[in-house]
Each structure stands twice: as C-alpha cells, then as structure tokens.
Amino acid sequence: MFRPAPRFVMLPLDPKPVGSGGGLMLFSSITFLFYFLPLFLLAYHLLPAPNLVLLLASLLFYAWGDPTRLPLLLFCILLNYGFGLAVGRSGRHRRLWLGLGVAGNLALLLFYKYAGFLVAQWAALAPLVGLAAPEIPQVALPLGISFFTFQGISYLIDIHRGIVVPQRSLLRFAMYKAMFPPLVAGPIVRYAVIADRVDRRPVTPALWARGIESFTIGLGQKVLLANTLAGPVDRLFALPPADLSPAAAWLAAAGYALQIYFDFAGYSNMAIGLGRMIGFELPANFNRPYAARSVTDFWRRWHITLSTWFRDYLYIPLGGNRGGPWRTGANLTLVFLLCGLWHGASWNFALWGLYHGAFLVAERIGLARVLVRLPPLLRHAYLILVVVVGWVPFRAEDFGRTAAMLRAMAGGTSGAMPDLAASCATALIVGSIVAVWPRDGRPLRLPAWAGHAACLLLLVLSAANLAAGTYNPFIYFRF
C-alpha cells in the first residue's frame, strides 16, 4: 500500500476545529468573537454595575471549557486580597506578610507548573545515588497561572513599597485580578497601572475607537499571519532530521520567529483593545521588537510587561548593575535563566533564557561598543540572526531536536528548498516587512475613515478565515 512521503508543499491547513482551543475561550474563536464579546459589551455598557459585569464575565471566560479550574483563580484572588490588606497595614509584620504572600503565589506556581518537572529531574538522578525514583505527579497546568501569580506578586510588593494602597473592596480587587482581557496571556497588568480606573472609568468614543483598532489589528495578526504560518512551521519542525535541509531549517526558524511574534503580539493587542473598550489603558507589551539593533534593545521591546517585571522585582532587588561587571553578569544570567523557565518547565526554555542572558552580558561587557560602530543594517542583521537562532531551542521539544535543527541550519545536512504555498509565502513576506518596519508609528498613515474601514475589513477577513476553520491554537497559553 502506498504511503505518501512527507509533503513539502506546505499549505496552511489543519483539521483542528475553530473555537477549539483545548478547553478555553480564545479571543479568535467563534464563541468569543460573535457571542461572548457583543453580549459582554452590551451588558457592560448598559447595566448599572460595570465592575460586577466585568467580574462575572471574567469568571465565565476563565471557567469556559473546564469549570474545575475556577477555584484556583478564586483562591488566588482571596490570597492576594488578604495579604494585600495585611501588608498595607502599618506595623512591624509587614515584611513577614509580604514574604508569606509572595511565597503563597510562588508556591502555587511551583506546584502547578514545576512540580512535575522537578520531580522528573529527581527521578532521573535518584537511581544514581541509590535511591528509588519517585512517581512523577501529573499536574494539569491551570490557564494563565504564570500571569496571574506574577500580577499578584507585583501587587503585594507595590503595596509594601508604598506605590499603591491596597484595594479594600473585594469586588473591585477580584475584578482587577480576574479581568479577562489580560487574564490568561497578558500583558501583566500591575495594579498601579490601573488603580485610578478601578472605581470609575469613562469610555470616550476616542478610546472605544482606539480599542477597536487594537483589537482588529491583533485579530488580523493572530488569524491571518500567525495561523497561516503555524501549519508549515509545525510540519517543518516535525520533519525527521534526515529530511531537514538547511533551507527548511532556516525557513522553520524564521517562520516560527514571525509566528510567535504575531501570535503573542496579536493576543496582547486584542487584550489592550478590549481593555480600551471598557475604559482601561493596559500597558503595551510589544514595540516592534524585530526592529531592534541589539539584544539589549530587543528586550526593551519584547514582552515588555514581563521584562520590566523581572527588572523591577528581581534584577534590581538583586543589585542590578550596581555591583560591578561580574555581579551584573551573574544577575542578568540568573534573571534570564528564570525568564526562560517562566515560559515553561523544560531545559529547552532554560537554554533559551541562558542564551539571551549570555548575549546581554556580552553586550554589556563590550560587544555593544563594537555594535555601535557597525552600519545599522549589520546591527539589525546581528539581532535577527541571534533571535531567530534563539527560537530554535524555544520551539524544539528537546535538546536532540534542537541540535538537529541547528546542525541543519549550519549546513550539516543536504536537501531541497521546501515548496511554500502562496498564502504562507505572502504571510512570511508581509509579516517580515511589518515586523522589521524601522520607523515609529504605522507603516501607512491613513486618514481616520480609511483606517477605520481597513480595520473593519480586517475583521471581516479574519472572521471569514475563522469560519473556514483554519489553524487556531494560541501558543502563549502554554506558558
């Protein structure tokens, strides 16, 4: 019986159904876009208690697909609310309450995200020292736990630092903590950013309009670019090493670089847009990171709310760059190791974090001085090369796969350039241009009416694409 060989014609097709995000309500799902969102906006703007509407909608959003995950979120809300009040009281135990609150958040993160990984490491080492290997626990990763535990930690520390006062209303605090736009994939919203809008927040037509713009642009980035690239990238990363040509490996890495950017930035833009539609100005999470010209600059533009979180709550408390080059290097390495592990309990993520940390240290101790003497194009090429290669361990399942991919990229294999379907090639070209666009602002400055019409067209195109049932999982829900 004939079995087709691996196909190199890469079409953006995938049998996964629309709206099936593995038990969650994606922003780019039929259920969210055409039912949840219009109903929520109506209720939010027409009913007299917007905070209550937002809280209930957020709990429904989080529980969708698997209501058993809801108690953890509610526990996290109560934990941070209670410790926030305790830390906010003047007294000599403030530091103790802060430590307990932060430990509580970290304990949740450690248990749900890293218990299996840590026990697996111990299980691998135990026989070497003559001990019985423990059973590896199967703990389901709750949605968005990395985001809402970091949010909780920042809330408690900011109270301790006197940046914010604790929210005394449980309803308002729960609304902030459970707010669905950034709940499961960021941006990480610190309480200080929205504290003045927790009680009342006017939604002006201008803010609404900007919200719609952000939302539709994000939806287009996710559906039309990231999803189109996802199928071919998945297939290329799944190729047996023997079939992986250098061109295929580079195409896979470059495609993934664009896929993850438009997937994550698209989600963040949608969250920011939704926030504006209900009066919140959530922090920007991306600022054209692939237009950067050094790794240091890249990290000022990529996942900004995470990198600033690590800066403010880990790097600076560790001493930052105040302890000399060695101490700074050690701090950066530790921060980026943890940043890598934050993305997932796997040595590949640790490797990715250390890789970026190493370039940051190198730039700090002298590489940056070399880079500034280079023409801008070469500096840009350096950044793209470093980042694209870095995505290989991030995307590959294990070290073996990473090594095979890197070997192919270094020319250690032979093979043909894979055919690329026209839509994928278009997404790759358009995505590359948009991603590396060097100037501030939008690539095209359109009159308001044309910009609005373009946004609505983007919405229709994205909806049509979703209706046709193309590839739809969000990458960042893994984290």
């Binding site: 087709p4 055409f34 309009a209 026209a422 839509s423 209706a467």
Partner: protein, 395 residues
Amino acid sequence: MTRLWRRLAGRGWFIPAFFLLIAAPALFQILLPDPQRDERRVLATMPALPATPDQARHLPDAIDGWLKDRFGLRQPLVRINNWLRWQAFGEIATPRIIIGRHGRLFLAGHDDGPATLITGLCGADADDAAIDRGAGIIVRGLERVRAAGLDAALLLVPTAPRLYPEDIPEPFATACAGRRPPVDRVAALVAASDVGPDLIYPIDLMLGLKAGSEPIPRHHFHWAGEAPVRVAEDVAERHWQLPRTLTLPLRTKGRNSDLNGLNPGMGASDAIREPDARAVGIRTCEGAACGPIDGLTPGAEFVLERYTRPEPGPRLLIIADSFGDEISRNFLEQFGEVWRVVTNNLPALSPTDRRVLADELKARFQGERVLYIYHDAAALGGLTVIADLFWPPPA
C-alpha cells in the same frame, strides 16, 4: 452631503459598525437561521441543559460545537474565505481537492481520507485482487446482459489521473511513476473475455483528443465539452454502426467547475467548447414530467431525464453515474430519443422502489439499446451495487 460625509468619515460610524459586525452572526442565527445543508453532514444541535455535574462540565464544549456549526452568516463567510484563497493564492481549503501541475484540479477522494482517486487510478495502490474482482464483475454482468438478449454495452470513462498523469503533483507523481493504471488492466482482462466487444474503453481516443481540446477541463472532475461528443460518435458509429443524422453545433461557454461545491465560493471555472443543444431544437424533461411511474413511493428521489430531438429516430437508454450527464444528449446525433437514469442515489431508494423502477425501465425499453456509462474508478469494484440493481438477474 459634505457634512454627512464628514460625520460618516469620523468615528461616529466606526463603533456601531464594529458592533454590528460582531453581533451580526448571533442576530442572523436567531432571525434568519441558515439550514446549512451544503456540508452534507449532521451538524451539532443545541445542547440540552445539563442534568449531571459531568454534563455541566462538558457543556461549554457542546456549546462551542453548536455555535461553530450554526452561527449566522457562516456560509457567506466561508465562501468569502474560499474565494479569496483561490483567487489570491490559488489555494483550496479542502483536502478533497488536490492542486496538480499546470493548475489542474484533481478530486482526491469522496471523503477527507487519503487521495485514493489518484493513487488508486494511477496504479500506486495497485491491488491485483481488486483488479481481478472488478473485471469479474463486469464480465459476469455483460454475460447476463447478453443472455437477456439486450443490445447493450458498457462505456468506461477515464478520468484525470489516467488522462493527465503529467499533471499529477508530488508526492503522488513519484508514487505513480512507472505503474500501469489498474483500469487499463481491468479493460484488458474484459477485452480478452467472450464479452470483450461489449466493453468500450475510449482511452486512445481521449488521449488523442488532448492534442486539440481538454477532455477533462482543467478545473473539472467530470469530462465536458468536445470529448463526450466525439466519444458518443465513436460509440454509435463504430460500435453500433448507426449513421449520424444530426450534427451538434459547438460553442464556447464559461462554466463553473463541478468541484466548486466541495469548496464553496471558490468560483473556479473553465471555458468549454460544448454542444449547443438548443440550437438544434433538443428538448429535455426531468422526473415525473417524462411520464409517471406507477407504484413508486411518492417523493422517491432519483434522476430520470429524457432528451428528444425534432426528428424521430431509435431510442437509447443510458444507465449511468454522473459521467453520463455530459454525453447523453450527444447521442441525439444518431438517436431520436435518449433516456438517462442516474444510479448514484439509487441505493437510497427502498428495495421495492428500486424493483419498480427496474421493471418499468425493462418494460419500456424491451428490445432497445442500453448503454451503461461509468467512470474508471467504478470499474475497480464499484459496479457491484449497480450490477445487482440493473443488470438482469441470472436466468
């Protein structure tokens, strides 16, 4: 006017327009529900209220599935997507159609599974037992036809994988290379039997026609245009030695692809040089309009057509799959009246209705010529059902 334009161009219309766009599917689902019949599958129904905690846990998934299948404007949105993808990128959203070389479209299969209509017909999946079985069914059937005293023949129509092997894309092309098409082997086995003359397999004629026309239009699964005219002439004049008493004029016409239905909205088409039946006064009737059949269950669905020309002449009964559609009226060049029964949906009829229909046709066409027309894939075993339905039972 200027003021109105300024107001429209401001953000005044932007927010309501956005809201209407995202709310429209829900509104249409409530106010104008679409029966969504095009997909020919059972769509999800509205989930019932949960009675147990486990049902409650799975309720969101059930609602997702229901909304995914039933949201308003679903068909127009799917059509927009398919049209854009085809027009802008030349891509197709269903695995049932495969884009070959030179832009040719191949029907991969009758479901979303492997591309058996390509691999099976080119010989990559050659199965000797299936070839012997297929030839045996045809030989036994034609023997029964002969024994019943019918002047009948079987026309096997080659499809694109057989006619255009040079257009088969990778990886199928590699798998097909050097393989002998199974239908050729079936035809050779039948030709070597006593009933060999009753099988018509016009592969050489159709390959020859490729020089001046496209026997299978580039974006079609079925044959169309000039090839069915020439094959009809070949069958009538060479097989039955019937003189041509009418010449069908040909005209070029843009025609939507028969594959569009598998990828709604795609809008693929071909310019086809096809017979102009109206120009020579050919008339068509369908179903009960051609004369009622007593004893059939009311509403029994099957395709029965009759083509007539102004001048009288002999009659022909064609029993066929969908490949009989393009050729049937072409036989009016030699016949005065052609009847066509499509067997594709006959298995859906009750056994009684099938028997009533078969008896009626037998009574109406006793002593007349009968032509069975099927595409090549049917020769590999698919004629079993047809044989049981329409070939005369053993004496």
